[in-house]
Every structure is written in structure tokens, then in C-alpha cells.
């Protein structure tokens, strides 16, 4: 694919096929919602939140992280994006290419352990499969996460409404730009690194400070994709102010050289939140107090106009912000 933007049509196809087969009417949030995870009531007071993800990444070890940290953070964060900041249990399934050095596997599992400690999570079950060389490239990890929340306290993607503020908890595009640069051999000096990290603690701080109405992490397809999904699911419009989107200096300059917008590529340690406007300042302050949220910023508003779509104010005019699909082909003449 073009630049870590995802938009893989095969994935969409499978998701659509699965959704039509496994629609679940009982769930608070089921498969059809295509949310970060599902929410199933277990009794009057509690729901179980479940999420699962398969991780492949090249290279396995990259600046700022590795596949193990990515797998644990991805799953912990998907739970957190549902409002479930206290993971109960994680599973881990490793699929390994025959002949992969033992040290590699060791380093990955060590990293998973460290990430779990950081997130306050435990891997309680697991599996390992070895496949022939040519059948898989070195290593893939599937992780599943489970958490219990009080019934009704989960945060769906579609919970935003007109008037809410949109907050991004940190700089965007770090993972995508850094990984691409490393993989393709671009040299931008030493400042680029992936932001991969569990953010459940950060999300907890935000939720304690105010009413977070919707949440997603801008992984595949970046901030642009996530905002479009939120607008579409809630049937509202979103206005974003380009200047206020937090971007690190290194990512901004690398993105400029590559012609890639930081909001089009993945972050792995950031949350995008819609927040009741009355609580926006409090939530922002809580985020900024947290070491993982020092760059948090209010980036936009939920509006009534242009429902299902996101409009970017560039400072010199307004245009639609569309999700990157595959390679971004220039449109301008």
C-alpha cells in the first residue's frame, strides 16, 4: 500500500461480509457498529467489552517500539476507546515463521510484558503456531482484550452530538510517518519515532474530568479517517481547524518532504475524543497534566451542517477533508 494509510479494499470486503452474518441484536454495541470493540450486557449492572486485532508490521522492531508493544497497546487502546480503561484480561496468539531466531521471539514477548505492565494489563491465555517459511513473514500477533464496565458507561463512536468539541490527545501521524521513513530508508535525522503506547490511563484522566461522548484512536487512515467515521456514524458534521491539529516538528517537516499529510497516517498512542463543550476545557486540562497528553488540543467542533462530512479550515479557505483511500491521487489541475 501507499503509505501506511490502509484503506485496504479486501479488509472492507471481509468486514462487510462478517457484519451481514454476525449482526447481534442483543449487544449494546455489536459487530455492525464497526466500533473499536463490542459491548455485551452480562447483567443489569455490567457489560463486557471485547476487542480483537491481528498485528503485522515491517520492520518488526522500529524506532519507538516493536510489534509486541504495538499488539498490546492496540488492544488496550481499543478497549479504552470504548470507555473500558481497566483491562481485565488479554490473550495473545503468536504465529511465527519457522527459523525465526529465538532472540527475536524473546525480545517481542519481553516487550509485550513491559507494555502490559505500563497498561496495568495481564495476558492470561495464549497460543503459538509455527508456519513454514514463505507461508508467513517472520511474525504475526493476534491479541484479544476483555474488560468489564458498568452498564451504560461505555463510549461509542457514534455518541457525539452538535455542539461537542473535538479533542486530540497528542501529536498525530508520528507512527505512520516514522515507520514509513524507516521502512523505505528515508533519512530525516533522529527525531522521528513511533508514538505507540497504551493510553488507557490517559483516557481515564479525561473521562474523570468530563463528559467524553465519543472516542476513537486514529490508527488506520489517521485522524482524517476517524473524524469521517465519527461524523458519518453520528450523522453530524465536523469542522476542523488545521492550524490547531497537534503535529510534532519532525513529523511536519518529514510529511512536507514526502507530500504526506500527518492527519492521513496512523498514530498508535493517541485518542480522538468528542467532549461536551461545557467540559472541554476541564478535559483538555486533565489531558495536558498527564505526561502522555502534554500536546493535547481542541481541534474542532461538531456542527449541524454538512452531515456525515468533515470540513477543514486551512486558514486560507475551507475544503472537505476526505479519508485517504489507497494512494492519494492528486486532483488539482
Amino acid at each position: 500500500y501507499a503509505h501506511g494509510a490502509g484503506g485496504d479494499q479486501m479488509t472492507d470486503l471481509v468486514e462487510n461480509l462478517a457484519v451481514s452474518r454476525f449482526a447481534d441484536a442483543e449487544a449494546d454495541v455489536g459487530l455492525a457498529a464497526l466500533d473499536d470493540g463490542s459491548v455485551q450486557p452480562i447483567d443489569d449492572e455490567h457489560s463486557v467489552v471485547v476487542t480483537t486485532d491481528s498485528h503485522v508490521v515491517s520492520p518488526l522492531f522500529f524506532r519507538g517500539g516493536d510489534i509486541g508493544r504495538l499488539a498490546v497497546s492496540g488492544t488496550v487502546n481499543d478497549l479504552a476507546m470504548m470507555g473500558a480503561t481497566d483491562p481485565l484480561a488479554l490473550s495473545s496468539s503468536l504465529i511465527i515463521e519457522a527459523g525465526t531466531p529465538k532472540t527475536t521471539v524473546e525480545a517481542v514477548t519481553e516487550s509485550m510484558q513491559a507494555a502490559c505492565a505500563e497498561a496495568g494489563a495481564t495476558i492470561t491465555t495464549g497460543d503459538t503456531k509455527v508456519m513454514g517459511s514463505d507461508e508467513i513473514d517472520t511474525l504475526a500477533i493476534n491479541t484479544t482484550g476483555v474488560a468489564i464496565v458498568e452498564r451504560g458507561t461505555h463510549v461509542p463512536d457514534a455518541g457525539l452530538s452538535v455542539g461537542d468539541k473535538l479533542i486530540v490527545s497528542g501529536t498525530v501521524g508520528d507512527h505512520g510517518i516514522s515507520l514509513l521513513s524507516e521502512r523505505e530508508g528515508f533519512d530525516f535525522g533522529g527525531d522521528l519515532e513511533s508514538d505507540v503506547q497504551p493510553v488507557n490511563d490517559l483516557v481515564r484522566a479525561a473521562m474523570d474530568a468530563g463528559d467524553v461522548t465519543a472516542m476513537k484512536d486514529p490508527t488506520r487512515g489517521g485522524l482524517a479517517t476517524v473524524l469521517n467515521e465519527m461524523a458519518e456514524k453520528a450523522d453530524v458534521g465536523i469542522d476542523v481547524d488545521e492550524q490547531s491539529i497537534p503535529v510534532s516538528g519532525a513529523v511536519a517537516s518529514a510529511g512536507e518532504v514526502l507530500g504526506i499529510e500527518p492527519y492521513d497516517v496512523a498514530s498508535e498512542g493517541v485518542a480522538v475524543m468528542a467532549v461536551d463543550s461545557a467540559d472541554a476545557d476541564a478535559v483538555l486540562a486533565a489531558l495536558r497534566e498527564h505526561p502522555k497528553g502534554t500536546d493535547a488540543a481542541i481541534v474542532g467542533d461538531v456542527v449541524e451542517d454538512h452531515t456525515g462530512q468533515v470540513v477543514l479550515d486551512t486558514g486560507f479557505g475551507r475544503r472537505y477533508l476526505t479519508p485517504p483511500e489507497g494512494e492519494q491521487l492528486p486532483r488539482i489541475c
Binding site: F186, D187, G259, R331, C333
Partner: protein, 756 residues
């Protein structure tokens, strides 16, 4: 004797004209409008007088009328002894055409200048021969209550003129005088009123003379104006609107003033004076070129010029000496403001004052822009003065089509019983306001034309908002489609349809169009019919490192074309086109890795790269800038002796773009920028023409055409035309449809009309 006249004959003062002509020829009888858009005349009198009448009918109709057909039938004398105008049989008039807006006519201008006239110094006077139409009509039938003149009830004097058949204001729906018509006011930038009426114009003139930026609400839109001869004012306009280099159009009080700063040919003189009053891109004078021209049209040898078309403009020039910059009053990405509130809001911080009036602009319509290239008129923008006039039907079909065009410089087009009506210029359809404007325009035109499209057409680009809108039209209304038309096929089809040809080998050269192979096309030779096309040659593929970034910084494409580390560093880094050697290395690496590096065959991008190579323009700040500045750099250059490098792609002949750029780089060592620029344009044109002529000869096709945004380039157009005509083939160029993306909707209609 009964005479039936078809064409644009209603709402244009045709019946009073018939009345005058008949009475001048001593004829009795009557005239009336018919419900199907004709005018029917009954005449009693001598044959010689009838002949005189009929010849005047054909040679001297009212300025806004278009007589298409006159059918004369003998009939019994009706025994009438006077001539009278009879009310319409049916006032629905739905199939009559709405005329475009036109400039104030000479007779109204005379009234405006005549101290004895009750219209003296009144800016908004109009008659059946002139004034706003398309921009004030809400719906049909065209009558005062269905226009925005509805807010201004006629005074007794106006009513009298309106009802007097011999008056040229007879049934002029936009009739108005100082007693009853719209009024002007001058506001400060913050909205506070400063002056009204004549005073407002005078004060606006003073403000302009003082170097202020003034918004002027006119007929179908609003201009941002400043004194063109005051570089500080022009600089302020650039800064406040974020347009550092973009050429601004100017309005000059009269032809003599135009000729003091631009060279004007006979054709251009006629076009400037034409009642449609387009902005014409003229050659700026090269000897005693006034200094201010460099601020208005930086780096270009051309300047956009128009003459006054509203009474407001004529009166304004009583208080301002020189030419004024008159650019559309819009900020990037938003359609031009048309009412007081949005003028003040959109242009907050930009304008020092606003001259506004209280008549609503129902449909905005930007100024038309044209250029004479290769000896023929080419529309850059076909808008005010031409819209909503129809263009020839591309094919025999009963299918009505709505086409949404491309995304940038967009127009839409609708058909009405086969005739194609392209819309006014809409702008760049990439933001909510312009999408809304597009939708309004579609429904307005549908209403006025009474048409109900069967099928909707769009571009093939998956990310164009117009493509998505087309999907919405298809799913909301009962329209089939969308029929997705490849961009360059649409360009070619627009040319074939305009020139009424079934097939031609067409050179379609522009900046960006989505190809069916997922790459960016733009230097194509197509063997095309309306229904289909085959790509038979063009330019060899090169890379756009960084995608859109490469379009904004042509140095990137140049780096990939040169593919030579040392030269890239010398040329681009040393000159500051790329910031550092590591940036240059990254761009090279990007091409090798294929990261965000779309493949292209774009002629526009190739010209951009040459512009960067010659250090003419390395950063683009407006559409077309690098190629336009290259054309200006080439204008006094001589074509050097040069052999064009050809290669093949998929068995087709293509110009080898890499070799081409390396050759030019070598030539630039020993020759002037002007000579190398002229050589580059010549070689690109000649190379594409050679490919096209070869194909036409092989396949027995008798015409070669040229379309796309590159066809605005005069030198390139001439070279292609000469090569084609030297081969004994017909050269097809545009005259009525823009070669650029403003013509795409018309081409889409042509394709969708015939494609199954």
C-alpha cells in the same frame, strides 16, 4: 402574409422591434409571442414593403435576439389598417430561451449621459436590448414579478414606457429609474453607511483613488477593486487575499486606455466591445510597458482586460482616472459574495469599503474570460454574457443529460431536447459552499429549462466531489448513471461535438486527469469518437514525487525527470527550490521506493518541470502559474535546432520526457532562457503533433484536434496547427467551448448522450 420566427425571440424586445420595423415600412398587421417560444407576425401591405421588412428582420434584429428560422406563408389580407402588439397566446413561455446578461446598450448609455433624460446618471437603467437577465430571473415565465426587480414597483413614468410599444423599454422587465429602482450605498469595511446614490459612487471613486480596496456589488456578482496603477494598493490586495502572484483582471474606462498598456488586434478590439464584455487576455505592451503592469500581472506578458459593462462602471470612471483591478470578490474556496451581509463577512479584513446596491442577485455569474490563441478565440471561462445560451446538440438522442464536470474550474451542463446548456463558472468543487452552489445552479437551470434529466454523468476520478455528487443525483432522483467519463475523453468529445465531427485524432494536453489505469494522464493522443476512445500515443510516463506536493513544487517532478544526483543538487538545492541536499535525496529516494509517487503523462506537469529547470518558476501559487510564466519567458525566444526524442509505450509512439528534459538542461548551458523555453514548447507541441498526424495518416482519419488546458498556450497551439495543416489534415480547435476543465461537462454530455 404570415411570418413565423424562431430562435431567441422572446424577452429580448423582439415585438417592439417588429412594431417599429413594420410601421417604418408602412405595413399594418399584428405581432404576438406564441406559447412554444416563437413570434408570429401578420402583415398587410405592399410586397415591396414586406420585402423591406423581412430583410430588416434578418439583418437587423435586436442585439439580444437570435433569429434561427423565418417561415413566410401567403395568407388572405386581414384588412387591418394599423399595426399592433397582441398579448401572448400563452404566457407560460417555458420553451423560450432565457437570454444572458449583457452590457448597457449605447442608447441607455446615452440616456445615462443626457442631463435632460430622467435616467441621467442613473446606474441601473436598462431596456429590452440590455441589462441583467439570467442573474435576476427566479423562474419562468420571464416577467417582472418573477425577477428580483419585483422588489421595485414601477413608478408612473416607468409604467408608461413599459406599456408603450414604440419605446425600447416596452416590456423591459428590468426597467428602473432613480424614482423607483435599486439604490446604491457606500459602506465602510465595518458596515457603517457613508453615502447613498450618486454620492456613493463619487465617494467610492475617491476611496479607490486613495488606494483603498473596495468591494463593488455589480450585476451578477461582486468585484474586489483597487487602483490598478497603484502598486501599493495592488500589493495590499495580494496580501489580504493570500494571492501573492495571481494575475488580476483590470477594467479600463475605454479602448484608448486599453491600447495605452496592451496590444489589441482587430478581433480582440471587437471582442472587447462586444455586448457580452468578456475579460480578454491581451498581450501587455512590451515597449513602454507601464510599471504598474508588473504588479497586476507579475511575470506574465499577458494582462486580463475588460471594458465597463454596467452603468455603475461607467459612472465610477467619472471619478477615477486609470484602470481598476476588478477581481472576483471571493476568498479561496468560497463562491463570490453576492449580498451585503456576506460581502462584509467574507471580506472582513480585506476591504476598506463596499459599494453595494439593494437588488438581489438571484444567480451569481462570474465574468467570462477569453484569449485569442493560435488565431482563434478560446474561452478560459464561459460565463457572464454567454450563459445560459445553448450549444449545439452533440448527437441525435432523446436522452436528457445532467453532467457535473470536473472538480476544479467546474461547470455543469444540462440538455434540453438535445441542446446543451452549460452553466456559469462554479469554481473549485471541493468545499461545502461550492457544492451547495453547484446544487443550486443545477436546480435553477432545471427550472428555467424545464428539463428532467434521464441520466447523470461525471468524471472517472474516484475522489472528485463531483463524482460523489453524481452518485447522489443518481440515487436521489430517477436518473440513470452515473456515466463516468474519462477526463481526456471528455475533453476530446467536447471538441468533436463542438466541431460536429464524428471522429478525430485528438491531442488532449492538460494538468491532471484520472486515467483508467489509475495513473495521472495529461499528455494524450486519442483516436476518439463521442462514444469511445483509444489511447494511441502521447508522452512517456514520469513521476510526481509527493503527489499534490509535486504539483505545488514542480522542482520535485524535475528531480525525478533528471534523475541525476549532482544536477539535482546544483539546480535545485543551490537555487533554493528544494531546501537541502537531504530533501533532494529524499525526493530521489521517494521515486525509487515508489512512496506517494503517482505516475503521470501530464503535459502540464512537464511544462511545469521545464519552468523549474529554467528557474522561471519553482513554486506554484496559483493554477497554471509555472506553465504560464514559461510561455511568457518564451515569447521573445527563438526555437533552436533540436531533434525530438521519441520512444514507445505499449507499442505507441511517445515523446521521451526524460531525454527531453536532459536535452533541455544541456541546451540551457549555451542558450538564453527565452530560446530554451521557446524550444521546449515547440518540441512538446511538435512531438505530440507528429504522433497524432502519424496516427491519423495510418488510420485514414482526416482531422487532428487539440484540447485541454495546454491549448490556451498560443505558441503550442500554432505549432500543432501548422503541423496538422501541413499534413493536409483538418485542424480542430475550440471556439465556443473552453478547452480547459470548464468544457468537461459539455464533453461528458456528448459521451453520455451516445453511450449505451
Amino acid at each position: 402574409m404570415t411570418v413565423s420566427v424562431t430562435g431567441v425571440v422572446q424577452g429580448v424586445g423582439f415585438r417592439p422591434f417588429v412594431y417599429r420595423t413594420a410601421t417604418e415600412n408602412d405595413l399594418a398587421g399584428r405581432v404576438k409571442n406564441t406559447g412554444d417560444g416563437r413570434v408570429e407576425i401578420v402583415l398587410d401591405g405592399l410586397q415591396a414593403d414586406v420585402d423591406g421588412f423581412l430583410s430588416a428582420l434578418r439583418t437587423d434584429p435586436p442585439p439580444l435576439a437570435r433569429v434561427e428560422n423565418v417561415v413566410v406563408e401567403a395568407s388572405e389580407p386581414a384588412g387591418l389598417d394599423t399595426f399592433e402588439i397582441v398579448d401572448s397566446t400563452d404566457s407560460s413561455g417555458g420553451s423560450g430561451s432565457i437570454p444572458p446578461d449583457t452590457a448597457m446598450c449605447d442608447a441607455c448609455l446615452e440616456d445615462l449621459r443626457d442631463p435632460e433624460s430622467r435616467f441621467h446618471d442613473y446606474w441601473a437603467t436598462a431596456c429590452v436590448d440590455c441589462g441583467p437577465r439570467y442573474t435576476v430571473i427566479r423562474e419562468l415565465p420571464y416577467d417582472r414579478p418573477t425577477t428580483s426587480m419585483d422588489d421595485f414597483p414601477m413608478c408612473a413614468d416607468c409604467r408608461e414606457d413599459y406599456e408603450e410599444p414604440s419605446d425600447r423599454r416596452y416590456h423591459a422587465q428590468t426597467i428602473a429609474c432613480p424614482g423607483c429602482g435599486p439604490t446604491l450605498s457606500l459602506l465602510d469595511g465595518d458596515g457603517s453607511a457613508r453615502a447613498d446614490g450618486d454620492d456613493a459612487i463619487e465617494r467610492a471613486g475617491d476611496r479607490l483613488a486613495d488606494g483603498d480596496l473596495v468591494a463593488i456589488k455589480g450585476i451578477g456578482g461582486t468585484h474586489l477593486a483597487c487602483d490598478a496603477t497603484d502598486p501599493a494598493a495592488v500589493e495590499a490586495l495580494r496580501e489580504r487575499t493570500g494571492r501573492p502572484e495571481k494575475p488580476f483582471a483590470v477594467m479600463a474606462p475605454d479602448l484608448a486606455t486599453v491600447e495605452s498598456f496592451a496590444a489589441v488586434s482587430d478581433d480582440e478590439r471587437a471582442a472587447l466591445r462586444d455586448t457580452r464584455r468578456p475579460i480578454l487576455l491581451l498581450d501587455g505592451r512590451r515597449t513602454d510597458r507601464p510599471r504598474w503592469l508588473d504588479a497586476v500581472s507579475p511575470g506574465l506578458h499577458t494582462v486580463g482586460v475588460m471594458l465597463p459593462y454596467s452603468g455603475l462602471h461607467h459612472l465610477l470612471f467619472d471619478h477615477v482616472d486609470g484602470p481598476l483591478v476588478m477581481t472576483s470578490a471571493n476568498m479561496p474556496g468560497v463562491p463570490m459574495a453576492t449580498d451585503r451581509a456576506s460581502i462584509l463577512a467574507d471580506l472582513d479584513g480585506v476591504i476598506d469599503a463596499a459599494l453595494v446596491h439593494d437588488r438581489e442577485i438571484v444567480m451569481r455569474c462570474d465574468d467570462s474570460v477569453a484569449r485569442y490563441a493560435g488565431g482563434n478565440r478560446r474561452f478560459v471561462r464561459r460565463s457572464r454574457g454567454w450563459v445560459p445560451e445553448s450549444l449545439p446538440s452533440p448527437a441525435e438522442t432523446d436522452r436528457d443529460v445532467l453532467a457535473l464536470g470536473a472538480e476544479f474550474d467546474a461547470t455543469v451542463a444540462l440538455t434540453q431536447d438535445g441542446d446543451v446548456v452549460p452553466s456559469q463558472y462554479l469554481g473549485d468543487v471541493d468545499n461545502p459552499e461550492t457544492v451547495e452552489y453547484l446544487r443550486e445552479t443545477v436546480s435553477h437551470l432545471r427550472n428555467l429549462l424545464g428539463t428532467d434529466p434521464d441520466v447523470v454523468a461525471s468524471d472517472l476520478h474516484p475522489d472528485f466531489l463531483t463524482t460523489r455528487e453524481a452518485q447522489k443525483y443518481a440515487s436521489e432522483g430517477d436518473m440513470a448513471g452515473p456515466v463516468q467519463v474519462q477526463h481526456h475523453h471528455a475533453h476530446a468529445a467536447s471538441l468533436l461535438a463542438e466541431r460536429e465531427r464524428e471522429r478525430g485524432v485528438v491531442i488532449a494536453a492538460d494538468g491532471t486527469g484520472y486515467g483508467p489505469d489509475g495513473s495521472i494522464w495529461g499528455g494524450e493522443v486519442l483516436d476518439a469518437t463521442l462514444a469511445d476512445f483509444e489511447r494511441v500515443g502521447g508522452l512517456s510516463t514520469f513521476s510526481l514525487p509527493g503527489g499534490t506536493a509535486a504539483i505545488e513544487q514542480p522542482a520535485r517532478s524535475l528531480a525525478s525527470l533528471l534523475d541525476d544526483e549532482a544536477r539535482i543538487d546544483e539546480l535545485l538545492v543551490d537555487r533554493g527550490a528544494l531546501a537541502t541536499e537531504s530533501e533532494a535525496a529524499t525526493v530521489r529516494r521517494q521515486v525509487q521506493a515508489g512512496v506517494n509517487t503517482p505516475a503521470t503523462t501530464s503535459a502540464g506537469r512537464l511544462l511545469d518541470a521545464v519552468s523549474a529547470l529554467l528557474d522561471v518558476c519553482t513554486d506554484r501559487s496559483y493554477e497554471g502559474e509555472p506553465a504560464m510564466k514559461l510561455e511568457s519567458a518564451a515569447v521573445d525566444g527563438a526555437v533552436l535546432d533540436y531533434e525530438i526524442p521519441f520512444g514507445t509505450r505499449d507499442g505507441n509512439r511517445v515523446v521521451d520526457t526524460r531525454q527531453f528534459v536532459r536535452d533541455l538542461d544541456a541546451l540551457a548551458g549555451d542558450h538564453s532562457t527565452g530560446d530554451v523555453a521557446a524550444t521546449a514548447q515547440w518540441a512538446l507541441a511538435r512531438g505530440l503533433a507528429d504522433v497524432a498526424v502519424g496516427i491519423a495518416a495510418d488510420r485514414g482519419v482526416d482531422a487532428v484536434g487539440f484540447t485541454g488546458g495546454v491549448a490556451y498556450n498560443d505558441a503550442i497551439t500554432r505549432t500543432i496547427r501548422e503541423r496538422v495543416e501541413a499534413a493536409g489534415l483538418d485542424f480542430l480547435g475550440h471556439d465556443r467551448v473552453p478547452p480547459g476543465d470548464g468544457g468537461i461537462a459539455y464533453g461528458q454530455v456528448a459521451v453520455a448522450s451516445v453511450r449505451d
